[in-house]
Symmetry: C2
Subunit: 324 residues, 2 copies
């Protein structure tokens, strides 16, 4: 298989580019009309046996997730995803069939998120398989990590913990985990960022926004640091899925560790004035998005603290996912 | 070393972002103002022991080249490079010191090409070291591969062959090749695309443009195919550096193979009406860029052919670099 043949086959998996694309795959670069709003730029990669494992994930799921984690970053700015560039670094053992299946997963996610895949690159590696995706989005008013004020509400969409619990279940039970714990496994293998809801937030009074990719404790710490505020969260307000509790019980682990520190959740953490809670709650409800207030910001101390069920307030240290 | 500490150290190697950048490294995404012209998008990666080898290349050179090959793609559209995203996939054996040196090479190239590094990603791998760079540029009138007409001049900047010859010299003599064959080694390790000249071409009558990354024979074939023309080139018109001849003589190889098929040259191949030759030649001369007419386009046959020194015209098959 030649490089150009491979590119041609991969290209044919993708949907036809939209009118925004003047030149797609096949020239020295892709060409698009410039978007009108502010541009958002992100890049993130999945590496086999670091971020995924074909022994329990399908190639389609890997493709979906490789794009979805980038979509999540654009949504975490309150933005709309637009264009993606896919860079594959491929060892010999990865078959053409597997690559085409991965591209079908990317296509499915691109259709869902209305993203145009406008270009990419394929290269050989010695052993590692890497899917590196650059995604560009736009936003009239990007929501930064630094916008939280004092005395504001801290809320999350959905719940945290399912992805970490699903990962542990897959490690323990392999593919059988899919039937036993479908919600957690789905959260881990095929995350579905809050596409529609995220794009409403900038105009509805949200002051800061971040996605929960590294774990809730890490993201709270980023938000507090960048916004120069303190945060107090209430353990009893943290939503926990019953499947997360069930997996933790079988594995004899404390589910709160996954809830606080589990990465790859791709939910949204945000702050807004308490006066905006009712409008945001009803917007969330209309779209079937769970939105839970988990705490509030304070002027000082400029730390993240958690109040336990017994009422003790203690510092919550970031313990999320780190590669290094 | 933690992931965030590493990102912070790498970030501090880079120059301060320009006024075009609203949010740089450190939020979920970077944020920029939208450029006004058409946008050009490209991504290309260097993989250790596939594209480079630390046994003869310095880390600074690797960093320079990783960005320069992308700059070349933007220039190959007649465009101006703007923003880069750097994605590193790093095995444990690559030290922080080496990463910082690579970033110094990236910085040097970014300053030269006036590129803002606006973001990136770092990830672990099992064994391969990958530097994947996405670069975005702009152009009022992008120069495609498909714009060549019949009866036009075919020309190249500089010469082809030095990069391939330099690579063979490095393989044969290691670091000692630097002193023996400085021009060829420099072409291979630290390519310098035609930054200023490329950006003039769209307004001076050039009809099609491509960079010579895969080898002259491959690029001629792309141009002929996309423009639906034939191309005839003259062997006796192909510029050959004396160092290329010298290396070929010592290695008992035919230098014309490097000239026709050697990849990674990052020179420009273009077409334009013969009436534009004098203005383009003088523009090139003013900027110290060698510009050589090597042949012309024909209506048929729609093939790339080469006339040998003895006058025989035969089909030139693409035999450039391919990974697969």
């Amino acid at each position: 298989m030649g490089e150009f043949e491979l590119i041609d086959k991969l290209k044919h998996v993708l949907p036809k580019p939209s009118h925004r694309i003047l030149v797609g795959i096949g020239d020295d670069t892709a060409v698009t009309l410039p978007p009108k709003e502010r541009l958002l730029w992100t890049v993130d990669c999945l590496v086999e046996n670091i971020h995924f494992d074909f022994s329990y994930a399908t190639a389609e799921e890997v493709g979906w997730k490789a794009l979805a984690v980038n979509v999540s970053d654009i949504l975490a700015m309150g933005g709309k995803p637009l264009f993606a560039l896919i860079s594959l670094v491929i060892p010999e053992r990865i078959t053409e069939k597997k690559l085409l299946s991965i591209y079908r997963g990317i296509r499915e996610c691109a259709k869902w998120a209305q993203v145009d895949v406008i270009g990419g690159n394929v290269s050989r590696s010695i052993d590692d398989f890497v899917i590196d995706i650059t995604l560009i989005g736009e936003s009239l008013k990007p929501l930064l990590r630094s916008g939280a004020g004092e005395g504001e509400c801290v809320a999350i969409t959905g719940s945290t913990g399912p992805s970490a619990a699903g990962f542990q279940a897959l490690k323990r039970w392999g593919k059988r985990a899919r039937k036993k714990y479908p919600l957690c496994v789905e959260h881990h293998l095929k995350p579905m960022p809050r596409l529609e809801f995220a794009q409403l937030l900038a105009s509805k009074g949200v002051t800061s926004l971040i996605d929960i990719s590294d774990g809730l404790s890490s993201e709270l710490t980023h938000l507090a640091k960048e916004s120069k505020v303190g945060i107090e969260i209430e353990e009893k307000l943290l939503p926990i899925e019953s499947e997360v509790n069930a997996i933790a019980a079988v594995l004899n682990l404390n589910p709160i560790d996954w809830v606080l520190h589990g990465g790859e959740e791709y939910e949204l953490l945000m702050t807004f004035p308490f006066s905006k809670f009712s409008i945001l709650s009803s917007l969330a409800l209309e779209r079937g998005v769970p939105l839970t207030m988990i705490g509030h910001t304070v002027a000082s101390p400029k730390q993240v603290r958690i109040r336990s069920r017994s009422g003790n307030l203690k510092v919550l240290k970031p313990k999320g996912w780190t590669h290094f």
